[in-house]
Symmetry: C2
Subunit: 130 residues, 2 copies
DNA sequence: ACCTAATTACGAAATATTTCGTAGAACTTC
DNA sequence: GAAGTTCTACGAAATATTTCGTAATTAGGT
């Protein structure tokens, strides 16, 4: 049983929900409209499908339904990462990480942060099998 | 102009080509068949489409055509990384990296390798704006 | 009550992707 | 050179995703 990743349109909806918290279709559609042309019923339909799939849950107590995501952002990120890792990087996390940091305009602050994180990780492995 | 990412089926073909070098449809199909059921003409069609899209080039000098990728593996990895970065991580490479390394069973050897890489990166930024 | 605006439900078209069958050409073998 | 095998071309079905129009319902204002 491996989790499925949301489609592109679904992910856009999720991003708004994770950022703003539970929202109505209109609220989501207004956010998305700032980025691109998208009809109200298009957003509605996507969200209805997501609800049917179990990606969202909705509160129908008022006429205007309020939706919220059923998965945590970090879990979804992990699932999508794993997919990319296996499909494009042969499962090698180090290759992926180096690609992510390589030519990119990652800031020094970010690099420092990652290094700190890495030191922690290494620390926590004291005693592991090498 | 932002590059487009290959579809799942296309990526599977590319992975074989990057690993094995220029190959025939039969060779690709045999590799893919080790992983999953897939008909010969299915693989053929995918590769024909990829050629039409400019993802592959083929040598037709012999009856059995020989295909090779037109993009480097690393460029494709980067394009796919960027897409994931922007669609699921709000553009934050550090979040992505930490997600990749976090709960994962990344080996100590890999972590060491990444740290080395990171030190190089930081070294190369001496004199950058902080 | 009537009109208008907002909302949901639903079907279906449009697009993208994946799969495969069939036909015909090119090569092999006997 | 006939029969069988391997290959490409092509169309089309199957599936997945995205988009939107229309109809019905509800709420609010006048």
């Amino acid at each position: 049983m491996s989790k499925s990743t949301p489609t592109d349109a679904e992910l856009e909806v999720l991003n708004v929900l994770w950022a703003k918290g539970p929202s109505t279709v209109r609220e989501i559609n207004e956010m998305l409209s700032q980025e691109k042309e998208v009809g109200y019923t298009t957003t509605l339909k996507i969200m209805q499908i997501m609800t049917a799939k179990g990606l969202l849950e909705r509160d129908e107590s008022s006429r205007t339904h309020v939706y919220k995501p059923l998965m945590k952002e970090s879990d979804t990120q992990r699932t999508m990462m794993d997919k990319l890792l296996n499909s494009a990087f042969g499962g090698s996390a180090s290759k992926l990480v180096m690609q992510a940091l390589g030519n990119n305009k990652t800031t020094k602050a970010e690099l420092d942060e990652i290094r700190k994180f890495l030191d922690d990780q290494l620390e926590n492995r004291k005693g592991d099998r090498e």
